[in-house]
Symmetry: C2
Subunit: 242 residues, 2 copies
């Protein structure tokens, strides 16, 4: 079923007209009278609609989006090379991330700044929007960047359960941080992963000092674009959101 | 640490010379005397080696590869469009899949056959090998294809716990199939996912009849290249392999 994010939902019984990119998307989909579509306000509320002859959407009763997780997971990824960020953003939105934040770290080869970063963020936000529509999310997870590793640590460590995945950590696993019968479960988690070259030992020490829990993702070494998605999936599963 | 799959491991104390693609790979890595590398027989046994002046590898004591999961997960994916199969194969190997099997289904747009399939399988197997080296696996998971959906069902349903992920299943989740305190845990799992257009209802009925457990991956609709990796990660986590 087609899904469109709109600025404001029509009241039940009102007829809504799609505009801008949504109207274009609807044209591509060739919506027919009688078809069901969903409008979403991007704040977790859905409005089911029926396509009318002429193309207007007759609004039904509003309801909470059933696909939106109660758990809020922020996904922090060090700027990766090439178009890997696009891939991670698309998949993390499908998998239920609440927001994506990119940050520079010591081993980052790519460190977009200024106009280049602005353009990338615009592109990444479009990818997040499209992934949110496709996966039936109730929000469009924001994609943003911070200027320094220090700033990333400060913000990420503010989550109820702040986790940094490190390939050289051998003891602490997610299963220890997230015991299956934990009560109450955390409501906010941040997951931080490094670039292709990994984190330096000094960066790990700083993360610990900032309050991040340093955690392994198991004995298999995951690529920088695989680790955040594996971590996110495992956390979602462990906390009953999958 | 560099990792090479070889046909037969050298005895402890012997000096081994890399050949073929491994030798080429070693040249690219510019290995230096004193450096540690690992040879693996592809059957779960590792042999740590030290690079000698001249490039030979002095073999240490053999040991079981610590990254190889005890759980055997077969990942069954319907032929996807474009290069998505490459992506899924690479990531599934990193995440610990035991094998990858591609199969045709009703809504598959791509159905490679004959020479085209043979070429693809060769390419996919190379990707699996490279991902196994990078992620420190103890085997190179085989990548193969079956000719029909019927054959896929027969083989996949032979696993101890055979699961098919279906976007329209609303009740049965992985958490029900894999309770955290299950004893004994399954040792073999097959995970089956559909193509871009999903499975048809008739295909789901046939899968049920064949013995597959039809299971949801949660309320967010995952792309065909995301679903197998999310399912694999959740199963690995649930069964203590992550």
């Amino acid at each position: 079923m087609a899904r469109f994010f709109v600025d404001a939902l029509p009241a039940e019984g009102a007829v809504y007209t799609l505009s801008g990119e949504n109207a274009e998307h609807a044209r591509v989909l060739r919506l027919r009278p009688g078809e069901e579509v969903t409008l979403c306000d991007g704040k977790g509320t859905d409005c089911p609609c029926t396509v009318q002859p002429g193309g207007g959407l007759l609004a039904g009763a509003h309801a909470a989006c059933p696909a939106e997780p109660a758990l809020r997971v922020s996904v922090w990824i060090a700027f990766p090379k090439g178009d890997k960020a696009e891939h991670v953003i698309q998949k993390a939105v499908e998998l239920g991330a609440a927001e994506l934040v990119l940050f520079p770290s010591r081993c980052c080869v790519s460190r977009p700044e200024g106009k280049a970063l602005k353009n990338k963020l615009e592109r990444w936000q479009k990818i997040a929007r499209s992934a949110a529509e496709q996966s039936r999310r109730g929000i469009i997870p924001p994609v943003r960047a911070v200027e320094s590793y220090a700033e990333a640590l400060t913000q990420a460590a503010g989550a109820e359960l702040p986790i940094l995945f490190y390939e050289n950590e051998e003891k602490l696993g997610l299963r220890e941080l997230l015991p299956p019968d934990a009560a109450p479960a955390p409501k906010g988690v941040s997951l931080m992963t490094g670039p292709e070259g990994g984190f330096t030992e000094e960066e790990i020490a700083r993360a610990k000092a900032a309050g991040m829990r340093i955690c392994t993702l198991g004995p298999r070494i995951l690529r920088c674009e695989t680790a955040p998605l594996a971590g996110l999936t495992a956390v979602m599963y462990a906390l009953a959101e999958l």
